[in-house]
């Protein structure tokens, strides 16, 4: 009897200590190295898996070229990058963001290709007062009521690019338009954007499941039945390639001109190939822009990666330079967040756009161009500027933002 009791007590003690040990070991696994403020820690959340991994990789490459140009230092401090894969899912991106903030204790967050991922990840960043520089996504909510002193956009606001396209359609006297767009935050913004400026009639609007739906047969049947003068789509990444191929397979290519935004670019032209030649779209940066920063960026990118950069990577180049301007301004003292913000607001940094200013909601004020898919002298597919559509364009949502400075 006594033995039994002793045995049980012994086992309980063993288990207790083992449990504590496991907990401590687990804690050790999640620990981060002790850090003094000797490095600039940047967290990069993007899509590195799935069919749109090429976009995440392109954006990372653009950021890395900037780091190369900076000698991988900002304001004298070494730069440490932490990459998180969002798998194109808002929850995963959000968790990745939280991990970067809590475990890696990053000073800046950047990346964020998708509007829904960005919207889910904004709160943890803002709550922890970590600067978030969006390299791509520009949802209307963050330009408006959700604007924050800790958020900056190095790209554009979603509605702007399609607004430019709507203007192009007017200039071409298009009377009827059919819109096909994915059903998520950015897809809706894009459709709204076109509708804002387009003066003709929208004869149909279809929103498809995102990101799952890659089969557009139902929507294409409806387009054919409606007989519009033009079709507008927004399908970033692999879906864009699929849409173009199916548009062609459905026999619509020669019949109804296809206009798009974010669908034909350096990341998708490899798959769409010649089908894309002559396609018109709008963007705030084109490969052939005539300013020294952009030219250097394009040539160094092509040298390193043997392919043309897209606007995705150009935007991330600018994001890196923006962050650098903040770190340099405070001479590496990253606790001076207000000073860093003031520096960023000045928008005084080398950027691929040429001219760059911030609106009151921390979104860029910039030009938008009409671009066309062409072949360069070596036979590669790339984009060419046709004309400037908007100069110094401001987004429409700053009125809803309560920030003033």
């Amino acid at each position: 009897m006594e033995d039994r009791r002793k045995y049980l007590k012994h086992t309980a003690a063993v288990i207790g200590t083992r449990a504590a040990a496991v907990l401590l070991a687990a804690a050790a696994v999640f620990s981060t190295s002790a850090m003094a403020q000797q490095k600039v820690r940047i967290g990069f959340v993007n899509t590195f898996s799935g069919p749109n991994a090429s976009i995440g990789i392109d954006e990372r490459d653009g950021f890395e070229i900037a780091l190369d140009h900076l000698g991988r230092k900002m304001g004298g401090l070494e730069v440490e990058m932490f990459y998180e894969d969002d798998q194109q899912k808002p929850e995963v991106g959000k968790q990745g963001t939280e991990k970067l903030i809590q475990s890696q204790k990053v000073n800046f967050l950047t990346g964020y290709n998708w509007s829904n991922v960005l919207l889910a990840s904004l709160k943890p960043a803002v709550d922890s007062q970590t600067f978030l520089i969006s390299g791509n996504a520009g949802p209307s909510q963050i330009a408006g009521e959700l604007c924050s002193p800790y958020f900056f956009s190095a790209s554009w606001q979603n509605d702007q690019t399609p607004m430019a396209l709507g203007e192009v359609l007017n200039r071409k006297a298009v009377k009827s338009l059919y819109i096909v767009s994915p059903n998520y935050a950015a897809g809706k913004d894009m459709a709204e954007g076109v509708k804002r400026t387009f003066k003709g009639q929208v004869v149909g609007e279809e929103y498809t499941r995102w990101p799952g739906q890659l089969d557009f047969s139902a929507e294409l049947s409806k387009v054919r039945a409606a007989k519009p003068e033009a079709v507008f789509v927004f399908y970033p990444g692999a879906a864009g390639a699929q849409f173009f191929q199916q548009y062609n397979q459905a026999g619509l290519k020669g019949q109804i001109p296809l206009y798009s935004v974010y669908t034909t670019d350096a990341t998708t032209l490899g798959q769409i190939k010649e089908l894309a030649l002559g396609t018109l779209s709008t963007q705030s940066w084109v490969q052939d822009l005539d300013n020294p920063v952009s030219k250097r960026f394009v040539s160094d990118f092509r040298k390193k990666h043997k392919r043309y950069p897209s606007y995705y990577s150009a935007q991330h180049y600018d994001a890196a330079m923006l962050i650098n301007s903040a770190v340099v301004a405070v001479k590496g003292d990253l606790s001076k967040k207000d000073a860093m913000r003031d520096a960023m607001r000045k928008a005084d940094f080398p950027n691929t756009r040429g001219t760059f200013k911030f609106n009151s909601n921390h979104f860029p004020v910039q030009n938008f161009y009409l671009q066309e898919v062409v072949k360069d002298t070596e036979g590669n597919l790339t984009m060419k500027t046709v004309e400037t559509v908007f100069t110094g364009h401001k987004d429409l949502f700053s009125g809803k933002c309560s920030m003033t400075w």
Partner: protein
């Protein structure tokens, strides 16, 4: 398990869980708190599933739907500016009870794999409902900008306070499940699992007993959903996808089906293992998947059974 060993185990586990915030503070591991809050919350869901699966033999592949209903109630009310826990939480639990009652009425007429499929069907219906709710984000999900307020008594935005609230809920749920399983009610449910005909022959209306168990499990899981929404400040249809329901089943089975602490141990093991393995290699899921396959082939009751085997 009613031996003294299990009491020691309970106390050891409880102490370890209580110690987490201290360890996190002392060593500066903020992420530890996030992880263990999540473990505690999902353990509540696992306890609720164990109640019907372990004791009642009702394998539901749609149990995560209650996490969703609980979470979305909090999220939608928060969207409209209603933050009081005294409104959100009871409403969430009530909706879970209603849903469990109605779907239970229909589902419990089936057994085995058909029960599996019909619970899946109902969960998927709600999943697609949440996807279709354009106003509340649909597939993109919805951020909750403020956690439930408890009338100034507790600040749920404070990580430690929130953790202890979740832990308290877990302890309550474990005690409730344990007492219920030992009661007359629980005996009938367990008896119904091994031989339903005999129970009925004894004059017991097993259908109604199982329905009550089903509703209780649904409400308990709804509590997990309410807490999860507060924890992540975010709701999305992902919370109630069928793969989440699958995760819950795994947690229960790994820990030990039909035991008191099994679900808690199983949840902890599953989530800690997941974190640890993903730290080691990007491709951890291969090993993890193989582990599950091996477990299913050689399973003898899960971790809890392993531990109780120390007696011999």
């Amino acid at each position: 398990m009613t031996s003294r060993l299990s009491l020691a185990l309970v106390i050891g586990l409880l102490a370890a869980l209580c110690a987490v915030p201290l360890i996190a503070k002392v060593f500066g591991f903020a992420f530890l708190m996030t992880l263990f809050t999540r473990i505690v919350i999902l353990a509540i869901a696992a306890v609720s599933l164990n109640f019907i699966l372990g004791y009642g033999g009702m394998i539901s592949l749609g149990h995560a739907v209650y996490i969703g209903i609980g979470g979305y109630t909090v999220g939608i009310l928060a969207y409209h500016g209603i933050h009081s826990a005294f409104v959100q939480w009871p409403l969430a639990l009530l909706l879970c009870a209603l849903f469990a009652f109605i779907t239970g009425l229909l589902s419990l007429r089936t057994r085995g794999v058909y029960f599996l499929m019909i619970t899946l069907a109902f969960a998927q219906m709600i999943y697609f409902l949440t996807v279709g709710l354009e106003k509340y984000g649909g597939d993109d999900g919805l951020t909750i900008h403020q956690r439930s307020t408890v009338g100034g008594l507790l600040n749920l935005s404070d990580k430690e306070t929130f953790y202890y609230v979740c832990l308290a809920c877990l302890v309550l749920c474990v005690i409730l499940a344990w007492r219920m399983s030992l009661s007359h009610f629980g005996m009938v449910v367990r008896g119904s699992r091994s031989n339903d005909r005999r129970m009925q022959a004894l004059g017991l209306p097993t259908y109604w007993y199982r329905l009550v168990a089903f509703v209780v499990a649904g409400v308990m899981c709804g509590l997990a959903g309410v807490l999860l929404a507060n924890h992540t400040d975010f709701i999305s249809p992902e919370m109630l996808s069928w793969t989440r329901s699958g995760d819950l089943i795994i947690m229960v089975v790994v820990g030990g089906v039909g035991t008191v602490l099994g679900p808690v141990i199983g949840t902890t093991a599953y989530l800690v293992l997941e974190q640890a393995m993903s730290g080691i290699s990007e491709h951890w899921q291969i090993g993890f998947g193989l582990l599950l396959v091996l477990m299913s082939i050689f399973r003898r009751g899960g971790i809890a059974a392993l531990l109780s085997g120390l007696r011999r």
